[in-house]
């Protein structure tokens, strides 16, 4: 496998010399996400396979081109999982793409985000140097946390080669409940529940119905289900519902048009924006299908203590990610320069300047 790295490194060095941009690509399932990169494709799909997996250490290390499905299957066999429940958005989804995109699924508000589970990375930086940061242990404060910096950087700071992730045991039992309620009430309830020691692992609200998933020891799930009320869903139906929310195959996401992702303070009241919404993460994530103008949506997200991303569709030249204040943008540019001085790694995928 070292030959694959040597080859990638050589391609990066040549590109850096010629200042020729590279578009890093694994399975291509997230091509839709982020700004457009029109450049030579640097395929990492060949660098694949699980390097080590130690169930009793709760750590897996795999190469970036490893299909996410392969990793999840290996974990499932040992009764474990990626607790941040990453979306795949297609069959070929790879670990590298998953970490680069930094996206987490329904469990995020309750178990933590992808970045919370990143323990270490091996990358090629913009000079083609093979570097390792972090490690395979859960507590590690040696050096700056470059590993977590890679999560969600969309490949603009380095080409991910290997990633070590903390994994967690699968819950023994799970129940999904559906409750009918108005949007404001759903937001209020989700926040109230989150302040109590309840084993909630996912929440989603759309079309007047709130879905709540409980996971853990049977006794705890049963006790919490009584407290929360609502109608229990059949296991297959529940699985379909959460996978629909995670993979955006739910009917809410059907049809074209712009899909916005608004990450806001969880207690934000219903956002008075035209269009349809699906609420996740205990109120902290609002998916919005809307043709409202960009400024209106971004302002609403900012007022709600967060930010808005043009997740799918629309005119990307208006900017996909929420603009950063100048002082913060300056730090971003400096960091980009530190990792990729020739500016060849996925330029424009995150922000036009990076």
């Amino acid at each position: 496998m070292q030959d694959v790295i040597d080859n990638l490194s050589r391609l990066i060095r040549e590109a850096a010399k010629q200042k020729r941009p590279l578009c890093i690509r694994g399975g291509g399932t997230k091509d839709f996400y982020g700004g457009p990169v029109h450049s030579y494709k640097l395929n990492i799909g060949d660098y694949r396979g699980i390097v080590t997996y130690e169930p009793t250490e709760l750590v897996i290390t795999a190469r970036a081109g490893t299909p996410l499905a392969e990793i999840e299957a290996a974990l499932l066999e040992k009764g474990q999982m990626l607790a941040f429940e990453p979306p795949h958005f297609g069959e070929g989804s790879t670990l590298g793409g998953c970490v680069a995109a930094g996206l987490s699924g329904p469990r995020r508000a309750y178990a933590g985000a992808l970045r919370d589970f990143v323990l270490g990375v091996r990358i090629l930086d913009g000079k083609g140097d093979d570097l390792k940061f972090g490690g395979q242990v859960m507590k590690n404060v040696a050096g700056y946390d470059v590993s977590r910096l890679m999560a969600g950087a969309l490949g603009t700071l380095g080409v991910l080669l290997e990633v070590s992730l903390k994994v967690l045991p699968l819950p023994v039992s799970e129940t999904t409940l559906h409750l009918k309620c108005a949007e404001a009430e759903a937001i209020e309830r989700m926040n109230q529940w989150a302040a109590q020691p309840l084993p909630i692992t996912a929440t989603a609200y759309r079309d007047g119905e709130l879905g709540v998933r409980l996971s853990g020891a049977r006794v705890a799930v049963d006790a919490a289900a009584k407290k929360i009320g609502g109608a229990p869903a059949a296991p297959a139906e529940a699985e379909r519902f959460w996978s629909g929310v995670r993979e955006q195959t739910d009917t809410f996401f059907s049809g074209g048009g712009r899909l916005w992702r608004l990450s806001v303070k969880s207690t934000t009241p219903p956002l008075a924006l035209p269009g349809q919404q699906l609420i996740e993460w205990g109120g902290a994530l609002r998916w919005l299908k809307s043709s409202s103008d960009v400024k209106t949506i971004r302002d609403a997200a900012a007022r709600a203590g967060g930010h808005a991303t043009l997740f799918r569709g629309g005119d990307k030249t208006l900017g996909v990610f929420h603009p950063l204040p100048p002082a913060l943008m300056k730090l971003h540019r400096n960091l980009k320069q530190a990792f990729d001085p020739s500016g060849i790694l996925n330029p424009g995928r995150l922000y036009p300047d990076l």
């Binding site: 250490e57 009764g79 930094g102 940061f133 999560a151 969880s266 002082a327």
Partner: protein, 496 residues
């Protein structure tokens, strides 16, 4: 730790210049520079290193912090930020030519949002004060370093502090949402936001654990968690360390994530028992504490399973905490481990490596061999759940050569941690203490990357310079004295 450098004498002309510049906007009482006034700041929790700062600044407002930074930036004076000064790696060790920026006066809890489960606090607020303030809401702040009654949240962020509940509840980085920081130029930047993520790079993660080298923290927004309904601890005694280690692996493999999982070896339990009377067996090789929290039903179920697994792993005795008082007593012993070491030895030196759990038996055996090699005793406490090992080397600084032997012993322990696939520091930070060991953990190109990250925030290297990341020159010098397993890591570097 390396041989303690002699203190740098303060340049009085430079001191007058800096004091005069600060007096333009700070009250006289907020500037200290007389030797007896600055002396209390000469070290943090790592007392083997001491250096009196040229000037201590004690601002009270954000604006004053920014002006101090602007002034120091203009005069090119290095700045070391300090919270409660409880750090164990010398991260807040002052510079003889620098300003020590104390954030001790920033003790305000600015906002508690019970509905959103967040608190916005100033950096000088004590870790435990946050949990105390939100306790009436049934909430708490999860990371609980053993110094939590004294350490400040700003320092916790700077070091990415952990505690005994990390396996289940994470480190500082997992429990904060937002930082308000001042850059080295004195500009204010908001990092993160009130949502669960923020646009752009994850600077929140990068700044957490950056040991005060990238920015000065002005405010921290922490996440609060609901207090678990109930918690109980199983104490298990083992006549064999390996068996104890295997029982930890068995519990984890069974799908249980304990809220706390701690191990102490016999020297540690003996020291603790004498000091704190926690009720540990002292005639066994190791004592394990395994805490399960959750609903009453969950805890009953989990405790029973853990107890069964301990028995099956060959535990010679298990005991479940009867009530809250006993649970706290079990923990009090563990939390007093460092103080107990202080009671049985004139000095002690606490290491902080992390190792893959499965290598524990081997690592402890090798540490025992080193005890005879260096003629020093070592007690071991282990965050068994997350692999964070704290060997406590007992020594007497008044005995000629003991400190140097201790340092060599410590460095060798860290190399063992690296060799088995771990890290030199799990939660205490690198600071000045472990800076040489960084040369062993990282390649020159990786250290260079750290330096470039530093320059991205601090072009002139004025924020806490000389900490956490060694220069390649320093590594070359260290490598010269200390060739790692027969390989020179820096064959291409010129030697001076």
């Amino acid at each position: 730790m390396t041989a303690v450098a002699a203190q740098i004498a303060v340049d009085l002309a430079r001191q007058r210049e800096v004091v005069a510049a600060l007096e333009a906007f700070l009250p006289r009482t907020s500037i200290l520079f007389d030797h007896e006034d600055v002396k209390p700041y000469e070290c943090d929790g790592l007392t083997a290193y001491r250096q009196v700062p040229m000037v201590v600044a004690l601002p009270q407002t954000e604006e004053q912090v920014c002006r101090i930074l602007k002034t120091c930036h203009m005069l090119k004076v290095p700045v070391v930020a300090r919270g409660a000064g409880t750090g164990l790696s010398g991260g807040a060790l002052p510079l003889g030519n620098g300003v020590l920026l104390s954030l001790a006066k920033f003790k305000g809890i600015l906002e508690i949002d019970g509905r959103a489960r967040t608190a916005r606090v100033q950096p000088g607020v004590r870790n435990l004060a946050i949990s105390e303030a939100v306790a009436p809401l049934g909430l708490y702040y999860a990371p609980d370093p053993s110094s939590q009654s004294a350490c400040s949240i700003g320092g916790n962020v700077a070091e990415n502090s952990g505690g005994v509940h990390c396996l289940k509840y994470g480190l500082t980085v997992h429990n904060i949402l937002r930082l308000r920081v001042a850059t080295v130029e004195g500009d204010i930047v908001e990092i993160g936001d009130d949502a669960l993520d923020a646009a752009g790079y994850d600077l929140l993660a990068l700044l957490t654990g950056s040991e005060g080298m990238l920015a000065v923290i002005l405010e921290v927004t922490v996440r609060l968690l609901p207090k678990p309904e109930y918690a109980q601890v199983v104490m298990a005694a083992f006549d064999d360390i390996e068996k104890a280690g295997q029982s930890v692996a068995n519990v984890i493999a069974s799908g249980i994530i304990p809220s706390g999982f701690e191990m102490m070896d016999q020297p540690a339990t003996r020291a603790v028992e004498d000091y704190a009377r926690a009720g540990y067996r002292t005639d066994v090789a190791a004592v394990l504490l395994c805490e399960i929290d959750g609903t009453h039903e969950e805890v009953a179920d989990g405790i029973r399973r853990v107890q069964d697994m301990m028995d099956a792993s060959g535990s010679v005795q298990t005991e479940v905490s009867r009530d809250e008082a006993q649970r706290l007593r079990f923990w009090a012993g563990r939390k007093a481990a460092f103080a107990a070491a202080g009671a049985i030895s004139p000095d002690y030196y606490c290491m902080d490596g992390t190792i893959p759990r499965k290598r524990l038996g081997e690592v402890l055996r090798r540490i025992a061999l080193l005890e005879s090699k260096y003629g020093l005793r070592c007690a071991n406490v282990f965050h068994a759940g997350d692999g964070n090992l704290h060997p406590i080397i007992l020594y007497d600084a008044n005995q000629p050569g003991e400190l140097a032997r201790t340092e060599a012993f410590g460095a060798e322990i860290l190399e063992i941690c690296l060799e088995v696939g771990g890290t030199i520091t799990g939660e205490h930070g690198v600071g000045v203490e472990k800076i040489n060991s960084m040369c062993v953990q990282f390649k020159p190109a990786e250290l260079e990357t750290f330096h470039r990250v530093k320059r991205a925030f601090d072009e002139h290297g004025l924020l806490n310079p000389g900490k956490a990341v060694p220069t390649l020159h320093r590594c070359a010098e260290y490598g010269r004295m200390h060739v790692h397993r027969g390989q020179d890591k820096f064959p291409d570097l010129p030697r001076y």
